[in-house]
């Protein structure tokens, strides 16, 4: 079975912190891969280049289709990136979600009430922002039913331990046989709880590491 996501020598084109050889690895459907490394080593920029938010060298395939052969907006609906610092373009939380999506259960799963859709964005705490931004990415409607990869940049960094466990439980339910998760974390315990594989940055190179804490 071919990998859902495949990278070959992928690196940001502008001021890349990665080793010139770039990042090369595969992510299979139904799996979670954790990425770890010190701050500033290029983890977030790697996810951004996979999502095609930055110009890059190298190649990425999704389900055997090369990135440049797919229109960028469609690519990003299949390779969904959720940044560590979320962005909001309207005052009301609900205006950032597709009207057709039913969110009550998902909101409950991350410890937020249904009224959260009516909340004002400027009054959200950092934890609320993070959970809502994650839900926004996870509930993005799929138009073609193709396999999807979620690129999550420290999805629980602003959360307390209880909320972290809730989000982790939600992430496990997201993993259908046709989806995969590639996530950045600073916690080896979290990687051990969620991931099937661990990749660590070492002097600008990504190397596989054992998951055991």
């Amino acid at each position: 079975m071919p990998p859902l996501l495949k990278l070959e020598a992928l690196a940001p084109l502008v001021q890349s912190p990665l080793h010139p050889e770039g990042a090369s690895f595969e992510v299979r459907a139904g799996t979670t891969v954790a990425i770890m490394g010190p701050s500033g080593c290029g983890k977030s920029r790697l996810l951004r280049t996979i999502a095609d938010l930055e110009p890059s060298s190298g190649t990425v395939w999704l389900n055997g289709q090369e990135k440049k052969t797919i229109p960028a907006p469609l690519w990003r609906r299949r390779v969904v990136y959720c940044a560590a610092e979320s962005g909001w373009w309207a005052d009301r939380v609900g205006d950032h979600f597709q009207p057709s999506v039913r969110l009550t259960m998902a909101l409950e799963a991350v410890g937020l009430p249904a009224e959260a859709m009516e909340w004002s964005v400027p009054r959200l705490s950092s934890g609320e922002r993070q959970r809502l931004a994650l839900l926004r990415a996870l509930t993005l409607p799929s138009e073609d039913g193709e396999g999807r990869v979620y690129l999550l940049d420290e999805p629980t960094a602003a959360l307390d331990p209880d909320s972290t466990l809730r989000v982790e439980a939600l992430l496990r339910t997201v993993l259908s046989p046709s989806c995969a998760v590639l996530m950045i974390t600073h916690h080896r315990e979290q990687a051990a709880r969620l991931a099937n594989r661990l990749l660590c940055f070492d002097a600008g190179r990504l190397v596989a590491k054992a998951l055991a804490p």
Binding site: D52, P55, L74, R76, W89, A137
Partner: protein, 272 residues
């Protein structure tokens, strides 16, 4: 037709007395520590020199009017308009982009609207007569320049300030036009608000500059009003067209064909 019997020529002494107001402003700025005295005096001196030189150039142009000389003067005005727009940007596009883009937008909108007015409304003989073509282009380009300058400034500043929101929309599969929509709307508002306010308050709050000038030189009020209305429409058309062109080109340069936000194409300028 100008009623020369009511035309009052100004003497140098009149201008000198009026300049006392600018000097008074500069002194107030120094006393209150506002830090604008130097700029105000430099701007005032520049204005006097520029207008005096322009008057001399116009005298020569009116005497030896040719289409080539008129076109060359228009070109110089348009190039300087582009230069002025680039100079007023807090975060201009790097390289020659802001200058090229704004000169192109001013050129397209200014010449299109001026040509339309000269050939279909002013009916000057010949249509390129510098006595009509240059003041008309000057008024249209001056206002279009302000509109483009403010709209580009709003576009780049908002794109920079709202980069997280713009990238969030792009990351969720939005196109560059969807992601930049708030910045584009803010830019259009900034660029067009001047002429909208100007049209809305003309004749109610103030007498517009051109009409005031014509009244001072003895033109009948109804004729002066007609000219002013025409000019306002032309300025609105030129500013709208120029602003839209500049915003579209600016948004294209701020992004790329893979719908990515390319803020590294902006340069940061600390002083305006």
């Amino acid at each position: 037709m100008i009623n020369t019997s009511t035309y009052i020529a100004l003497r140098d002494l009149d201008l000198f007395i009026a300049s006392g107001l600018v000097i008074l402003n500069a002194i107030l700025s120094l006393l209150l520590g506002l830090g604008v005295a130097r700029q105000m005096l430099i701007a005032a001196v520049r204005m006097v020199v520029q207008l005096a030189v322009m008057a001399l150039v116009l005298v020569a142009l009116f005497r030896h009017a040719t289409p080539a000389l008129t076109a060359l003067t228009c070109l110089v005005m348009l190039v300087f308009a582009g230069y002025e727009i680039s100079n007023r940007q807090a975060r201009p596009l790097a390289g020659w982009w802001t200058w090229g883009l704004s000169t192109g937008a001013v050129f397209l909108s200014g010449t299109a609207v001026s040509l339309l007015a000269l050939t279909t409304q002013i009916h000057a003989e010949p249509w390129w007569d510098p006595r009509y073509a240059l003041p008309l282009l000057g008024m249209i380009v001056g206002n279009t320049m302000n509109g483009i300058s403010q709209s580009l400034n709003a576009l780049t500043s908002q794109a920079y300030g709202d980069r997280l929101a713009i990238e969030a929309r792009l990351a969720l599969g939005g196109t560059r036009w969807q992601a930049l929509q708030p910045a584009i709307r803010a830019a259009a508002r900034a660029g067009l608000m001047g002429i909208i306010n100007s049209m809305a308050s003309s004749g109610l709050v103030f007498i517009p500059g051109m009409m005031a000038g014509q009244l001072l030189t003895g033109v009948p009020p109804m004729d002066a009003a007609r000219y002013q209305i025409l000019i306002m429409f032309l300025i609105a058309g030129g500013t709208g067209l120029g602003t839209v062109i500049a915003i579209i080109l600016g948004a294209l340069r701020l992004t790329d064909d893979r719908h990515r936000l390319r803020l590294e194409r902006l340069q940061v300028r600390t002083k305006l």
